[in-house]
C-alpha cells in the first residue's frame, strides 16, 4: 500500500491551494470586517507553506509502497 505520508502530502497540497486561492481573493476583494493582523496576509504565506510541505511528502513518497 501507499505510505501514510503520501496521503498526508496530498491533503496538505489540496488544502494549502484552497487557502492560497482564498487569500488571493480576499486580498483583491477585502471583506467589510477585517480580522486582526489581516495586513500580514497569513492565509497567503501559510497556504504556500502547506503546499510546499505537502509537495515534499508527496514527491518523496510517490513511488514508495509499504507492507
Amino acid at each position: 500500500m501507499k505510505p501514510i505520508w503520501y496521503f498526508v502530502g496530498l491533503l496538505l497540497v489540496i488544502m494549502g491551494m484552497i487557502i492560497v486561492l482564498a487569500g488571493v481573493y480576499t486580498w483583491i476583494y477585502p471583506p467589510p470586517e477585517q480580522k486582526v493582523l489581516a495586513y500580514l496576509h497569513p492565509d497567503l504565506w501559510w497556504g504556500a507553506v502547506m503546499v510546499i510541505g505537502g509537495l515534499i511528502f508527496l514527491l518523496t513518497n510517490r513511488r514508495k509502497t509499504v507492507e
Binding site: M15, A22, G23, L37, L40, P42, W46, G47, G53
Partner: protein
C-alpha cells in the same frame, strides 16, 4: 451565539476532510484481511507511524481546547501535563515495560493481566476499560457537537450523527489501521491548523518574552511557586504535582491505558515498539506551544480593554474552553478558519475512532473470546470486531445524548480516568516487577483501588470529606484534589495487593517466564550501534525535558 462565520472556501476544506478520510478507510479495507490486521494493524507499522499515532490518540480536540482554557485559568502550571505529567512515564514505558508487552505478543493490556494473573482480573479490567472508552467516546461526541453548535451555529443532531456515521464507516472497514492513519492526518492538521494561532498571538502581543512578562508571576512559572499552593494559579504543591500527576496519573495513563499502548503494539518489531513512545515524547514536549501560549495570550488580551477581546460566558460564568475558538475567530480569515475548524473536527473524530478501536479490541479478545465464545475462529473474531465497532458507535451516540441531557457528567471525566487507570498502574507495576504478587492479591488490590478512587471522588464532591485533608495542604483547587485522589487510590491498591499476596497462593515461577522482570530474556537490542538504540534517544528526550523545566522554573 455564532462567533465564526464560514465562507465557501472553509466549507470546501471541511468537505474535503470528510471525503478524504472516508476514501482512506475504503482504500485500506483491501489490506485488512484477518483479525491481526483489523485489531493490531498487522503489526507492520514503523516507529514513526506508531509514534505519531501514539501521541495523536491523546491529542484530541477536547484536550487541546480544555488545556488552552486551563492555561487561561491556572497559568503555566498546565505545562506539567505535557512535561512531568507525560515524559517520564512515556520513557519508562519504552525502556522497561514495552519489552514485556511486546515479547508476550498479547493483543491488549487486559490480555497481559490474564497471563500474569488470572481470568477474573482480566475481565474486571476489560469491563472497566470498555465502560470508560464508551463513556469518553460519547462525551467526546457531545463536546464536539457543543463546540460546533456554539461557535458555528450548526444543528446538534446533524453534528453528532455525521461524525458518528463517518467514524463507524471507516473504522468498521479497516479497524486500527484506518484509526492510525486518520490519527496521523489529524496530527498534521492540528499542527498546521493551530500553529498560526500561537504565532499571530505572539505577533500581536510583541514577543514571547512579553507574553510571559505581562501575565502574573504565579501564572508564568513551573516550580518556583510550588512550595506554597497559595502562590500558584493551580493551588497545588510540588508534592501533588509529582506524586499525583507526574507519578500516578501520568504512569497510569501512558503505561496502562490500552487506547495509547495499542498503537505501540502495532509496531513491526521490538525496536519500533520501544521507539514509539520515545518519538511521541519529543512532540509531546512541543504541544505546549499550541496550547499554553494561546492560553496566556488570551489572558493578556482579555485583561486589557483596548484589545476588545473576551471569552464566551455561560450563565455569567466564563467558558474557558472557548479560548482557542475565540482566538481562531480573531485571527483566521476565510480558508484558514476552515482549516482551524477542520483541525478541531479531526481531533474530535480521531479521538472517537481511537476509543472505538480500543473498545472493539478489548471486547472481542477480552470479553467475547474470553467469556462468551472461547473457540472463536479468525473469521468470527474479525466479524465480531466490525459489529462491535458499529455497536460501540451507537452506544457512544446514546452516551452523547445522555450527556446532552445531563451536562454535569462532564465533571466525572477526570474521575473516570483516575478510577480505572490509577489503581491499574499499581497492579501492572507490581505484576511486572515482583514475581510473588499473587492473582488473588492483584484482583482484590485492583477492586479496592477502584472503589476507593470513586468513593473519594464522591466524598469530596458532596462535602463528606474536606479536599484539604486529601491534599494535605490549603488552599486546594479541583485539579489538585484530583491529583491527590489518584495518589491515594494508587497507594491503597499497592498496599492491599502486597498484603493480600502475603496470604494467598503464588503462581509457579515457570508460568511467569516472559511476563516478569528477572524471569524473562528481554530482547536487549545490544547488537545495535548505540546511536540506534532506544536508550540513546530516551536520553536526549530526558535532557530536553530537564532543560525545559529548568528554563521555565
Amino acid at each position: 451565539m455564532t462567533t465564526i462565520g464560514l465562507t465557501v472556501a472553509d466549507w470546501l476544506i471541511i468537505f474535503i476532510y470528510f471525503a478524504f478520510i472516508l476514501g482512506l478507510g475504503y482504500y485500506l479495507k483491501r489490506f485488512t484481511k484477518n483479525q491481526e490486521d483489523f485489531f493490531l494493524a498487522g503489526r507492520k507499522n514503523s516507529s514513526w507511524v506508531a509514534g505519531l499515532a501514539f501521541l495523536s490518540a491523546n491529542l484530541g480536540a477536547l484536550e487541546l481546547m480544555g488545556m488552552a482554557g486551563n492555561t487561561y485559568k491556572y497559568g503555566m502550571y498546565v505545562a506539567h501535563f505535557y512535561w512531568v505529567g507525560a515524559i517520564p512515564a512515556m520513557l519508562f514505558l519504552a525502556i522497561y515495560m514495552m519489552p514485556f508487552y511486546y515479547s508476550s505478543r498479547v493483543h491488549s493490556v487486559p490480555g497481559y493481566l490474564k497471563w500474569r494473573f488470572d481470568e477474573k482480573t482480566r475481565v474486571l479490567n476489560a469491563v472497566a476499560f470498555a465502560f470508560m472508552t464508551l463513556l469518553v467516546s460519547g462525551i467526546n461526541l457531545y463536546a464536539m457537537a457543543l463546540v460546533l453548535h456554539t461557535f458555528l451555529g450548526w444543528n446538534w443532531h446533524v453534528c453528532m450523527w455525521a461524525s458518528a456515521v463517518t467514524v463507524a464507516i471507516y473504522v468498521s472497514m479497516s479497524g486500527l489501521l484506518s484509526a492510525i492513519f486518520t490519527e496521523i492526518v489529524q496530527f498534521f492538521l492540528i499542527w498546521f491548523g493551530l500553529f498560526l494561532v500561537t504565532f499571530l498571538g505572539i505577533v500581536e502581543i510583541g514577543s514571547v518574552r512579553e507574553v510571559f512578562e505581562r501575565v502574573p508571576q504565579s501564572f508564568s512559572t513551573l516550580w518556583s511557586t510550588s512550595m506554597d499552593p497559595s502562590l500558584n494559579g493551580m493551588r497545588v504543591t510540588w508534592a501533588g504535582v509529582v506524586l499525583g500527576l507526574g507519578f500516578v496519573l501520568s504512569f497510569g495513563y501512558w503505561t496502562t491505558d490500552f487506547l495509547v499502548v495499542q498503537r505501540a503494539f502495532s509496531a513491526k518489531d521490538m525496536r519500533s515498539a520501544r521507539m514509539t513512545p520515545i518519538i511521541a515524547s519529543f512532540f509531546k514536549m512541543a504541544v505546549p506551544f499550541l496550547v499554553i501560549i494561546p492560553g496566556l495570550v488570551a489572558l493578556i488580551l482579555a485583561s486589557d480593554p483596548k484589545y476588545g477581546f473576551s471569552l464566551l460566558k455561560d450563565g455569567g460564568q466564563i467558558n474557558y474552553d472557548s479560548t482557542l475558538p475565540m482566538l481562531i475567530a480573531r485571527y483566521y480569515p476565510s480558508g484558514l478558519a476552515g482549516l482551524g475548524i477542520t483541525a478541531l473536527l479531526a481531533g474530535f473524530m480521531a479521538g472517537q475512532a481511537g476509543n472505538v478501536s480500543a473498545f472493539n479490541t478489548v471486547w472481542t479478545y477480552d470479553i467475547y473470546r474470553s467469556v462468551i465464545n472461547k473457540n472463536a475462529s479468525d473469521e468470527s473474531l474479525l466479524w465480531m470486531g466490525r459489529v462491535t465497532t458499529i455497536v460501540g458507535i451507537v452506544l457512544s451516540v446514546g452516551t452523547a445524548y445522555w450527556a446532552k441531557s445531563a451536562p454535569s457528567i462532564m465533571d466525572y471525566m477526570q474521575a473516570i480516568f483516575s478510577w480505572v487507570n490509577a489503581p491499574l498502574f499499581a497492579t501492572m507495576l507490581l505484576g511486572m516487577f515482583v514475581w510473588w504478587i499473587t492473582p488473588t492479591g492483584a484482583f482484590w488490590g485492583l477492586v479496592s483501588g477502584m472503589v476507593s478512587s470513586f468513593t473519594l471522588f464522591l466524598a469530596v464532591k458532596f462535602n463528606w470529606l474536606n479536599a484539604q485533608i486529601l491534599a494535605l495542604s490549603s488552599p486546594v483547587s479541583d485539579m489538585a484534589a484530583n491529583f491527590w485522589r489518584a495518589w491515594w487510590a494508587w497507594l491503597i491498591c499497592f498496599v492491599v495487593t502486597i498484603l493480600a499476596s502475603f496470604h494467598t497462593r503464588r503462581k509457579p515461577k515457570e508460568e511467569l517466564v516472559g511476563l516478569v522482570w528477572g524471569m524473562t530474556d528481554v530482547e536487549t537490542l545490544d547488537s545495535l550501534p548505540w546511536l540506534k538504540r532506544p536508550e540513546f534517544f530516551a536520553a536526549i528526550s530526558v535532557l530536553i525535558f530537564v532543560a525545559l523545566n529548568i528554563y521555565f522554573w
